[in-house]
């Protein structure tokens, strides 16, 4: 069985809309300022569906799988239309 993936957040992109918490209430809670607190470890198998929904629903495309280098390049970078080091 393959290792469970972890979530990762682009803190600069995140605007604290809280959509991820709504999509993944058993996985993500919001802090005092409305920003998501992610689970420490990998996403448990039974919460993968919630995690995927949170990633897909984020309006800022700030949430991603940690293993994939897509935060500032690749698909997410193109979607967001910006690069870290222009």
């Amino acid at each position: 069985m393959s290792e469970q993936p972890k979530l990762r957040i682009d803190w600069i992109a995140c605007n604290g809309y809280g959509v991820c918490e709504a999509a993944a209430p058993d996985l993500i809670v919001l802090d005092d300022w409305g920003y998501p607190i992610l689970p420490d470890g990998p996403v448990p198998h039974d919460l993968m569906r919630q995690a995927r929904k949170a990633i897909n629903d984020c309006p800022m495309v700030a949430l991603a799988w940690e293993s994939r280098q897509t935060l500032t390049g690749g698909r997410l970078g193109r979607l967001r239309g910006r690069r870290a080091n222009p």
Partner: protein
């Protein structure tokens, strides 16, 4: 007691830069080492970066050396020194600019870089002038390589991703990693961002070798380091010490005490507080400090007098760091502001019932939740202040009285 002088050896530190002729007469030119020899020498020294994060210098250079085949790398000498109480980088650049430039040129030569950016804090006018004049003194092949960039004033402007961001687009705010700058930094080229003291150390290591470097030092981390000592000592300022020198000995080097310190902030505004008794005989050296829960950071050693209020001091630092946030990441933007607000109220005997609880909780909550480590550093300073000045924090809240200064409610900060 005489300080250990390597970086600061040579003419007296009287505000004048050592000219190139004198620098050459004293140290000779850089020896022709192969990239692998040079990086191997750095690795053998165990030299840790002196900008604050303490990343191994050899490993940093190696990571870029291994990016062969792509575009030529860029070297950035980081002399922003945004740490308000630290002066070691500007003292070094003001008096020994050619040693710093040697280090930068050496890095470029070793890594195959065709451009060196000298990133200098624009508020450090003396250091900037010395570095400018020093660049003019260099031979044409060095001058073609060297470019001075005046960094904007600001605590995060010296953070390495902010440095690269500013060189690229005049925006000194940190960026998200990945990509790592060893892969894509300045103009998407592999980039070495290295503190100016680290570069100066490399320039000496190239000349004298790793065994010479390791002759000095009393702990796991070897060599000498520049530190800034502040507080109730006769001579506040910059000193070069053998790593592992106990705090007590540094105080002697600084001319002895002129007051009674109660605590010490080690490592900078991102650093850690310790009670003076616990820190007094502690070796100033990254590994020993880390074992004691402290940080070496940028080498700031800030003694706090027994009559000065640690609650107030740490709240002011918190306020400074909140104002220094790039305001890009939510937990840093709102968390540091709330931490500054709460600690400021405690310091001013105006605490809300939940303030102490919230400060404790928020320091945990902002840690690790930003693009850079600004919130982590701010929380570390605040958290250790809460522990070291615990009685005074409680007294400020519950008795509305300061244990150190005797000040009471009604006193304004």
């Amino acid at each position: 007691m005489q300080p250990t002088e390597r970086l600061l050896a040579g003419p007296p530190l009287d505000g004048r830069a050592e000219p190139l002729s004198r620098h050459h007469a004293r140290l000779g030119s850089l020896p022709p080492l192969s990239p692998d020899q040079m990086v191997g020498a750095l690795e053998a020294t165990g030299l840790l970066g002196r900008g604050g994060a303490g990343f191994p210098v050899g490993r940093k250079w190696r990571a870029i050396l291994e990016q062969q085949g792509g575009a030529a790398p860029v070297v950035v000498a980081n002399g922003a020194e945004g740490e308000p109480e630290s002066a070691k980088d500007r003292v070094l650049m003001t008096h020994r600019p050619h040693l710093v430039i040697d280090g930068a040129v050496l890095a470029a030569r070793t890594l195959g870089a065709d451009r060196v950016e000298l990133y200098l804090g624009r508020e450090h006018t003396q250091a900037v002038a010395a570095m400018r004049a020093a660049v003019e003194e260099r031979p044409a092949h060095d001058r073609r390589l060297l470019h001075i960039v005046e960094a904007p004033i600001g605590y995060v402007a010296g953070e390495s991703t902010a440095v690269v961001h500013y060189v690229n687009s005049k925006d000194a705010r940190p960026t998200t990693t990945p990509p790592r700058m060893s892969e894509r930094g300045v103009r998407n080229r592999p980039t070495l961002v290295q503190n100016v003291e680290s570069l100066a150390q490399a320039a000496l290591i190239a000349r004298h070798g790793p065994d010479w470097f390791r002759e000095r030092g009393r702990g796991a981390n070897r060599g000498t380091a520049l530190v800034t000592i502040a507080g109730p000592v006769r001579h506040e300022g910059v000193a070069e010490i053998e790593l592992g020198t106990p705090l007590a000995e540094l105080v002697e080097i600084a001319g002895g005490l002129t007051g009674t310190p109660q605590a010490v902030l080690v490592g900078g505004y991102f650093g850690t507080w310790a009670p003076i008794e616990a820190a007094w005989s502690l070796p100033l050296e990254p590994a020993s400090l880390q074992a004691a829960g402290l940080t070496f950071g940028c080498g700031l050693v800030r003694l706090l007098d027994a009559r000065s209020c640690g609650v107030d001091y740490s709240a002011r630092i918190m306020d400074f760091l909140a104002a220094g946030s790039a305001l890009q990441c939510g937990p840093c933007k709102f968390g540091l502001a709330d931490l500054a607000g709460a600690s400021g109220r405690v310091a001013a005997f105006d605490a809300r019932p939940t303030d102490l609880y919230d400060i404790d909780r928020w320091t945990g909550l902002v840690t690790g939740r930003g693009a850079c480590r600004h919130p982590d550093g701010a929380a570390q300073q605040m958290g250790t202040a809460m522990a070291v000045f615990a009685d005074d924090f409680a007294s400020h809240v519950h008795r509305r009285r300061c244990l150190a200064s005797g000040a009471m409610i009604g006193a304004r900060r």
